[in-house]
Symmetry: C2
Subunit: 199 residues, 2 copies
């Protein structure tokens, strides 16, 4: 059996801890001041590390933010699999509405979207993360519903995903209007109706 | 008849021209560098005026941007009135999709949304503009469709407006995915179906 040389476990843990501390500091700073005003100094101060600890990992602010955001966005959200399309749709819309009401998400997403409109690298990273997630929703939820005969054969997964995510994003992240008592229930009924009518 | 004292017409026109030049410069700067990095100096340079011309009108950057953006957002977009809900919906979604693909809108809106998450005054101004527009759409389009018997009595205008604006905003301003050939047509069919099923 080949033996593998390892760094002492303590050092690895410490190095990992520092990375976690920096990642959390970046997310907090993004929420508080936004990408434009985020500084390596402030991230280091908040993480309780020296600036060299950051420059050892990333060569500049853009690289640091892109890697951390891709990483956070890429942790795949588990997709609901309740056995029926009605159940999956309800659970997914509940998860999305909770996520969009989270302080960190509700401040970081619009800020990075704004940067994306001026910075092609940020745009590409975000779009890749979004599209991967969108495709997963489209392929799995809509695909399964078609296979079960709950949605028509010709249902367009792109239209479906936009109908599921768009209204909640618009209301919570753009218009920033709180969901009323029976809003979510009405929206779910409407979206289910839309998808049955969509082809 | 009372006589009204007026400034010479030439001066008024010139003053109006300068305001227009400043307004255009603010919108261009917002699109290019965003609110956070926008400076009075750059606006003055782009408008071809002195900084005093700006400070004569507004006491600071926030006040200037809020007044100009409210003004632009407040110019009421004419709502479609084609005589049928299907026609109104189609025309409205076409107008919204064109507007969201306009360079200025697609850069300024996400940027101000991002600022809004950190600045309550910006948030309030934007939300007021958005809600006024949303309510106009809900009251007129949905109200008329209910009156004509094209939508069920209980149709919720808030859910309806979110379904009309959300998917397009999500796709064009967030995921930034181009509309495919028959995307808009499919989305319109789906939204019409959603609204008929929504109550």
């Amino acid at each position: 059996m080949a033996t593998v040389k390892r760094a002492p476990a303590g050092a690895a843990v410490l190095r990992g801890d520092i990375t976690v501390a920096i990642r959390n500091a970046v997310m907090q700073e993004l929420a508080d001041v936004g990408y434009g005003r985020l500084s390596i100094e402030a991230v280091a101060r908040r993480a309780g590390v020296g600036k060299t600890a950051i420059y050892r990992r990333w060569s500049n602010k853009l690289e640091m933010v892109l890697e951390i955001v891709s990483d956070v966005a890429g942790r795949s959200v588990p997709l609901p699999d309740t056995g029926s399309f009605a159940g999956d749709l309800q659970l997914l819309m509940l998860i999305v509405s909770k996520a969009l009401q989270h302080r960190i998400a509700s401040q970081i997403i619009p800020d990075l979207m704004a940067e994306a409109s001026r910075n092609p690298q940020i745009a590409e990273t975000l779009q890749k993360a979004l599209r991967t997630h969108q495709q997963a929703v489209g392929d799995k939820l809509i695909g399964q519903a078609i296979a079960r005969g709950e949605l028509p054969e010709g249902t367009d997964p792109e239209v479906a995903v936009d109908l599921i995510l768009g209204p909640l994003y618009w209301r919570l992240a753009v218009a920033r209007t709180p969901l009323g008592d029976d809003y979510l229930e009405k929206l779910i009924t409407a979206v289910a109706g839309a998808l049955r009518a969509s082809s």
